[in-house]
Amino acid sequence: MPLARSLAFIQLSPALLIDTITAPQTDFPVLHHRTLSPIAAGLKLDYLGTVPFRSDKQLFFRLIDTPEHLALWQENTFFEIDSSVSLLMAESTRFLAGDGRLYDAYRAEVSRILDRKQDTKKLRLRQQRALKLIRNEVEAFRPIYNAEPNDRKYAWLPPLLQSRRNAHLLLCVRSLFRPGSLTFVRCCHSRIASFACWRSTLELQRRSRRTSGTWWTCSLPEAS
C-alpha cells in the first residue's frame, strides 16, 4: 500500500509542476539562474490572468469599476506601482460587448489624464511615458561587456545574441514554457513565415517536452 501511495505521488508531481509553471504569476527563470538573463529585469508574463477579479493580487488589480476609477490606473501613483498594467489599460484595450458609451467614457477619461501636461515640463504625460519606455528598451537590450574598461567583447553572451533578430529567437526559446502563444507571436514579429512559424512552434514545443529543463537553441526558417 505505501508503494502504491508513493507511485501516486510520483504521478502527481509532474502535474503539480505543470500547474506551477502555468500559474498566471509565475516568473520564468528559464536560464535556471546559472547564467545571467539577457534582459536585465527578466521577463514577467501574464499579469492580469483570465478574469477581471484578480483578487489574489492586491485589491487595486480588480479590473471592474466605473470609467473614472478605472482610468486612475494612468495616474503616476499606479504607474509607479506597476507600469505594465497601466500601459495595458491605456493603449491595449478594445471594446467587446455591452454599452459602447461607457467604454467611450473610459477612453475619454484615459485620454484626459494622458494628455495632461505636467507642471514643470512641457511634455504631456503620454510623451513622458513613451520616452521612459524607449529608454528602458534601450537599457534592456544593452550589450553586457566585460568588466575591464575599453574591452568591447561580450562577457558571456553567445553569438546567438549578436543581432536583434537573434535576440527575438532567444525570446522564442525563453517562452517555450508557455503554451505556444508567445512563441508564435514572437516568431511572427521576427518576420518568419506564418505557417513555417507555426510548424516550428509545435516542433519546438515537442522538443521542449522531451528535453524539459535543459537549455537548447534551434534555428527557425526565414520568411520567404
Binding site: 505543470i18 458609451r101 461607457l102
Partner: protein
C-alpha cells in the same frame, strides 16, 4: 485547423494571420459573454461594457492565448460586483466547456472568483 483557414489568410504574413485568429477568438469570447449575461434571470443592475486587454485587444491572439478583459460599469456597489462575479463564473464554465482549456488555466480564475472576492 489548417483546413479552416482561408487560402488568402494562410498565405499572408504572420501579422495578418494573427489578426484573423484574433477576430475569430474575439467573436467566440463575445458570444460567450453575451450568453453568460443572458443566462442570469435578473437583468444587469446597471449598464456595463466588456473590453479586452492584452493580446486580444492588440490583435495578436493565438489559439492558446489567455482571455484577458475588464468591465466598465455605470456605478460601483456590492450588488453590481456580485452580479458580475456570477457572470464571470458562468463565463468561466463556458470557456471550460469548450474542452480546450488546460487544467491550470481553468482553475486559477476559480480561486480568485469564488474565494477572495
Amino acid at each position: 485547423m489548417r483546413a479552416n483557414i482561408p487560402f488568402k489568410v494562410r498565405h499572408s504574413s504572420g501579422r495578418e494571420l494573427l489578426q484573423w485568429l484574433s477576430l475569430k477568438f474575439e467573436d467566440l469570447v463575445v458570444a460567450a459573454l453575451k450568453e453568460s449575461v443572458s443566462s442570469i434571470a435578473e437583468k444587469p443592475p446597471c449598464s456595463y461594457a466588456f473590453f479586452s486587454i492584452g493580446p486580444l485587444a492588440q490583435q495578436q491572439c493565438t489559439p492558446s492565448s489567455r482571455i484577458e478583459f475588464g468591465i466598465v460599469i455605470e456605478r460601483a456597489s456590492m450588488e453590481v460586483f456580485e452580479y458580475f462575479r456570477l457572470v464571470m463564473a458562468l463565463f468561466e464554465l463556458r470557456i471550460i466547456n469548450l474542452l480546450e482549456v488546460c487544467r491550470s488555466l481553468a482553475r486559477s480564475p476559480s480561486s480568485s472568483c469564488h474565494q477572495h472576492f
